[in-house]
Amino acid sequence: MPKQLPDTTTPLPAFQAYQKQFTQHIRDPKNQPRPANVPAKRMAIYTEIVYNNIEGTLASCFPVTKKILSARQWQQLMRGFMANYQASTPFFREIPAQFLQHLDSVKLNESKLPAFLPNLMHYEWVELALSVQAAPADLERIDSATDDLLLKPIVITPNLFLLQYDYPVHLISPNYQPKQKTAQPTYLLVFRHLELQIKFMELNPITFQLVALLQNESLTGQHALTKLANAHPQISAEVMMQFGAATLAELKENGVILGVKKALF
């Protein structure tokens, strides 16, 4: 008789083996049998409440996605998430982010899902992420006496997402579902206004780069625009400054720029 290899995994105690079978069935009721001698009708309550709870959470975060997909496609996405993903967060509001991680491993082609889906769902998630994000705007640093955005270091809101997508996600609807990536990326800025509303702006590539500069380091408007002008020799410095000053004023008006930094002494 061949020597039996030692079992490297300790078998689960009976109560845990039962629990495992119980949850496997909840995760994938079509393919995983329920535990022996458990009545189907009773078991169905659990498969339903767990599904409805997770589905409801995701549906409220991804309303456009749900509207665009057929009921069958949406259900397959939900079922796939439950069957194949081990959610690692106890926080309900993080379930959508967990779903986005799972979506990375979904073969969109095979499931006949639109190629823009990861872009669209990420964009839908941003609104939720911003509404609960904890970063407080540090208003103490702001100099309320001046708003000289060109000569003083600019402070922008910490509650913003600067986004670049292959598809114009903000336009997607049941009536507009692009098949191909657009020639130019779509640049979006989504941010939480001080009054706690979530707002979004579509940006041109130069403004996108400007906000990215302001986000990464504390620069004066003039400094940021000089950097931009150096990166784009095809645009005259004069035009860049003119465009830049107007854009900075608009960003201040909208609440993306909070103000300028107080001098330390």
């Binding site: 009976a14 109560f15 629990q19 495992k20 119980f22 949850t23 909840i26 106890p90 309900f92």
Partner: protein, 288 residues
């Protein structure tokens, strides 16, 4: 700062829908019987924006209890220690005196976000009690565990619900968060006498109680939705509990089909009235 002895009278589960209504009616006669509130830490830890402002508003005005959903005391993987530490920091930061959880599990290596029944076996008693102890050690305080509602009786169970509940509480040396509605729901689902089970409850462990409504799916199957009004047999059970054990703080849970607060308040007032009735009775007995 609130302490455990500030949790008195009648409480209400703080659902998002109720937040603006309580804020609007705060200080008015109509909601005078709301003495404390309960929140799920999973919904509030780390939340910023307007949620943080709301939390601060309520913390300044009401004693608050944390009633968790995702600790997964019966879960298959090791306890989420990082999460327990977040709960601990949250309790300390906001001076919240009590944290309770369900005697159930909600994860099998990954979270499923619902309360699933633990089989009532000897091994499970030791396993769960050890995890409660570990939680209490990390928190540096005792937690309350809630008797959970359930729809499936595990065929491998070796004991009844009350025996399991008492064994876990005893071995873990924890508090009991008594859910009156769950006793009733399970008594119908598994065909036992709710009052008899109530009589066996270790009353010295009760820290506070829940009452709620449920959904009747079939005559022998109740689903613990917290989406209906409280029914008479549950009120009777609450009366019986106060009569046997004396009055304890009691909280109304309403999670679905939430009526306007001005309607919901009648159930709060009813709990308060029953508490008063038994407080007077017990006082009269003590004096006599």
């Amino acid at each position: 700062m609130s302490q455990l002895h500030d949790i008195q009278g009648v409480g209400l589960g703080l659902k998002r829908e109720l937040i603006p209504q309580i804020q609007a009616l705060y200080g008015q006669e109509i909601i005078r019987n709301i003495d404390f509130l309960e929140i799920a830490p999973e919904n509030w830890i780390g939340a910023g924006g307007k949620y943080k402002d709301q939390l601060d508003w309520f913390l300044a005005r009401y004693p608050i209890i944390c009633h968790g959903l995702c600790l997964s005391l019966g879960g298959l993987e090791p306890l989420n220690v990082a999460f327990i530490k977040q709960v601990k920091a949250f309790l300390h930061q906001h001076e919240i005196p009590l944290y309770t959880e369900h005697l159930s599990f909600c994860s099998d290596g990954g979270y499923l976000y619902d309360l699933l029944p633990i089989p009532f076996t000897e091994e499970a008693v030791h396993y769960v009690a050890q995890r409660i102890r570990q939680t209490q050690d990390i928190l540096g305080q005792r937690i309350g565990i809630e008797n959970a509602s359930s729809y499936v009786a595990a065929p491998i169970s070796e004991m009844d619900e009350l025996t399991f509940l008492k064994a876990v509480i005893e071995e873990a040396d924890c508090l009991l968060h008594l859910d009156i509605n769950n006793i009733y729901v399970n008594s119908v689902n598994f065909n036992y006498d709710a009052h008899q089970l109530l009589r066996g409850i270790p009353n010295e462990r009760i820290v506070y109680a829940h009452v709620a409504g449920h959904y009747q799916q079939a005559p022998d199957l109740l689903v613990d939705t917290h989406g209906e009004n409280i029914i008479d047999p549950v009120w009777q059970l609450l009366n019986a509990a106060y009569q046997q054990f004396g009055v304890f703080p009691t909280l109304l849970e309403r999670d679905l089909n939430i009526p306007p607060l001005t309607t919901l308040i009648s159930e709060i007032d009813k709990i308060a009235a029953i508490q008063q009735q038994y407080a007077q009775k017990n006082h009269a007995q003590t004096v006599a």
